[in-house]
Symmetry: C2
Amino acid sequence: MEPENKLIYYIKKWVNITEEEENTVLSAFEPTLIKKKKDLLVPGEVCKYIYFITNGCMRSYFVDAKGVEHIYQIRLDNNWITDLESFFSQRPSKYYIEALEDTRLLRLSFDGLENLYNEVPGLERYFRILFQKAYINALERLNATMWESAVERYNDLLSEHKDIFQRVPLVYIASYLGITPESLSRIRKSK
Amino acid sequence: MEPENKLIYYIKKWVNITEEEENTVLSAFEPTLIKKKKDLLVPGEVCKYIYFITNGCMRSYFVDAKGVEHIYQIRLDNNWITDLESFFSQRPSKYYIEALEDTRLLRLSFDGLENLYNEVPGLERYFRILFQKAYINALERLNATMWESAVERYNDLLSEHKDIFQRVPLVYIASYLGITPESLSRIRKSK
DNA sequence: CCTATTCCTTAACCTACATCAAGCTCATTT
DNA sequence: AAATGAGCTTGATGTAGGTTAAGGAATAGG
């Protein structure tokens, strides 16, 4: 399937839009390519775009006062990535968004999205559903982080996103799980 | 301000709706009252409504395999509460939603909301924005839980939601912060 | 007004995971 | 082919916060 059609395919999973609207949507997006280890966003910059990953892998993270990186999102193909806080407010971001592989994206600007909401009402519904699911997900992860052990969280991730382990270095997965690489290594050893 | 108008007031903070639409919205909601310590939802039940708290205080929590309660939401006046996962999927819930005070709510059924989305397009936008903000918030809380100490999380809550400390028993606040009541007590002592 | 809960605190001890430090294995660069 | 560094593991030691157990203060109910 062509990358553009993948986007439409995922939108149509949740809302109905006409063929004409499909074209309006597609023409609002701009294909982009980013090389491994390059940043889409760095702290202090305003996040100008929302990105749909058609092929590849991205992470977002912040660096704390001691200089330690903390990863809070890892996203593979057919997922959205952005700093929603900065994008939505159009104020400077606190986060990095970085490619973990050479990655192909479709990007949409803040104004572009606002226009689309008006031109294609179905898209407002699509994003309402998307954010709703993302929110449910974040709460689940929050509960797991608060109340489950590192081992349980590791097992959950393994059973739900095995693909991440094939494509992302363990240091990053450890950070995403909220533990040190050493702890992750010991967890894996004990299997 | 009348409870009904408070709801409209909060909606109009984010979207424009006509006076006629206001009435359509209001008439879709049903005022409810719930006594302290009573449940709006228990595990196994489908969450049939989304609730707007006009006056009072609610918590949502789950009980783990060992019988321990874990609170993941505490909501005061002028906030929404529901089990979004169950409400959205209309499948059985894993959570309790319980009143911490005698509480006045406006409730809206799943079908009622679906109708409103179609009759009042602005409402789709309102909920898109609401979920978007809720998602950003949940990610912030996730980061804090993973990477900040209990003391920092306590201070954050104190500076952002001091009102909670006046109205909610510390046992519940401890659980919401992801710590034991004993730890919370020690943190407070050291001030 | 007395009793029973609910709520909160304190102290002694324990444990999951972090930190620090070292070394090993590949892949990449020169 | 040697040198570099990214990615991962292992072991020794440290610590934030949990667990267990007890008691006191405040509130509610009979």
